[in-house]
Assembly symmetry: C2
Homo-oligomer: 366 residues x 2
């Protein structure tokens, strides 16, 4: 661990001296990262030792639980430098981790960054990557406490570990949903997939695409691409649901509603019904779907990475949830209900027809 | 985070649909990892939620500090599949993290694993990788609590985060060394570099190398390669030094003695002198150096990844350290002393000559 060791690690023959480690030119990049880490570390009474020792040392508030999540992003699988800036990639990676903490009802605190830099990587790119990560973290006062950096013989590789706290007996798990609970979602869903599709249209425009582009306002286009590249982790919503014990279970929508609902049902041993006409769709998502002759409901069901929260609320607490959510300015939409396990997972169409909900979360582009 | 999401992540278009995510054949590998994670997770009262939710949730013993370290290994930079098995790579990655916790005087507890698998990766390789990691972790009762898995468009990529505990006011930092302290090291040093060099000799043997090979006994060869591929993290030693408040500072030798000593001097604002004749060298390392006409002292000074502890002891506690170390069966060797900052870092040769100690930790193979 620790950034002090970076420049050594890159030149260290390690198991491989025949694999050329070159990288003398990379040393200044590691110096840059060291400087960036110092800049982005945060003075906090809970950090006993940040960057600069063999390990980071933190304290947890007495009686609090520690919440930990790790996410991995690899170039060519999770991101494409032709459609996203390094700052976008950093922001999104941090948001994905923040969202995991949000889904537990926790408070994010500290970040560890493991980064492998390809030979073609520049100081400017590294700078932007950290800028993006910290742009996502800053509003939540999350500071860097450590990491590891290395060269990469191929593309960029980023692994973040986020550490937070949660209140015992108030943290939100996937496993607490009960038959009779109502199913809610924050914000709007499907936007990120629409934004992804829009990003991917740009480099190779066909005549039809150009016509479609014209059919979508710049405002809608920017909104959707922004939702894809710079998602919002619902930290305040998760903390509020946890603090008031209003949710029996929660998950963040990272794979897509149909898949993530399945996770809640599996972990809680319940079934569920969602009302397709109730899914919260943004005007931009509707406009995009109309211009491309797509069903926006399909975007909402299968599109991952919206990083909205999907959660369940006991019926007796529904009115309290909706009333106080208004005062907090939160956007919560009831999209269905939890049923016994034998019910399975069903969707109610706008025409009143029920059908088994297919898990389209991980299939729509393959 | 969480393994449930893996198979989705690999097929999820994410930012990139044009970058082919293929990987339908990889799904069974993610199923395998899910099974491996379940197998290697550990029932422990300190784990509230392990694998299977948005984030892991743990408790820390009241008043204890939490210690965190992360290490990154990339194929082609940190390891070479021609000279190490997947099990060796897993073992070594875990040992490197365990060693960071050892250097803080901490107790390792929980492991998060982020893994990117190339298209050519097989179930067998994944199985072996986890086997190696857990072989290193098992003696310390470290269990898996989470992770993330992805495809890789190039080589293997492994990032581990290890979480442990340490006693407040007893944890060992790099910054506590004081002028007058004695400088100690555990075990023997230089073995790992000798083992690395031996590993790299094998595939393309010259006549000279064959003659040299013959000059080194199989026992010595196996010892050195074993020290390189399967290093021992000095957890018990670190905990003992911490518990008895015998060390004022500590670091693990991951970059090489000359570089790691420099880290202690920089963080503690002190100088140091090491006695080259006192460096603990194994018979195997001496035999290897003799057969290759190398100076074993240079191997000891520049060779990283021995994962021995380098630590400082106040003079008044020296006799207690040496007396009780014997009863514990620890191998501690005094190799020098700490001096004021202006002294710089010097080496005393066996002939009684002093010279400024060059930092050869990250240069010897470039």
């Amino acid at each position: 661990m620790n950034q002090i060791d970076e420049m050594n690690q890159i030149n260290q023959p390690s198991m491989t001296s025949r694999v050329r480690t070159k990288a003398r030119h990379q040393i200044h990049e590691f110096d840059l990262i060291r400087a960036l880490h110092k800049r982005h570390s945060r003075q906090s009474p809970s950090v006993i030792q940040g960057i600069g020792d063999d390990a980071a040392v933190i304290t947890s508030p007495a009686g609090q639980w520690t919440v930990l999540t790790t996410d991995l992003l690899t170039e060519g699988i999770h991101f494409d430098l032709r459609t996203a800036t390094m700052a976008d990639i950093g922001f999104r990676a941090a948001a994905a981790n923040l969202s995991d903490i949000a889904a537990m009802g926790g408070s994010p605190k500290h970040l560890l960054v493991a980064l492998a830099i390809p030979r073609t990587g520049t100081s400017r790119q590294i700078h932007q990557l950290y800028q993006g990560m910290m742009d996502a973290c800053r509003p939540h006062r999350v500071g860097l406490i450590g990491g590891d950096t290395s060269g990469s013989s191929s593309g960029w590789f980023l692994s973040l570990t986020l550490i937070g706290t949660a209140s015992p007996r108030k943290a939100l798990f996937r496993s607490g949903a009960r038959s009779g609970d109502f199913l809610y979602v924050t914000g709007t869903i499907g936007d990120s997939l629409a934004g992804l599709k829009l990003s991917n249209e740009q480099p190779s425009r066909t005549k039809t695409q150009l016509r479609n582009t014209a059919a979508l306002s710049t405002k809608h286009r920017q909104f959707l691409i922004g939702r894809h590249l710079r998602p919002t982790a619902r930290i305040a919503e998760g903390q509020w649901l946890s603090a008031h014990r209003l949710a029996t279970s929660a998950i963040d929508i990272s794979d897509g509603l149909s898949g993530d609902l399945r996770h809640i049902c599996e972990e809680s041993h319940v079934g569920a019904e969602i009302h397709l006409s109730a899914l919260p769709l943004s005007p931009a998502c509707r406009a995009y779907a109309a211009s491309r002759k797509l069903d926006p409901v399909n975007l909402a069901l299968s599109g991952g990475e919206d990083y909205e929260l999907l959660f369940t609320v006991p019926s007796r607490q529904r009115s309290q949830l909706e009333r106080t959510a208004l005062t907090q300015g939160f956007s919560f939409t009831c999209i269905g209900a939890i049923h016994p396990l034998r019910f399975g997972i069903q969707a109610l169409s706008p025409h009143g027809r029920r059908h088994r909900l297919a898990n389209t979360s991980y299939r729509h582009f393959t």
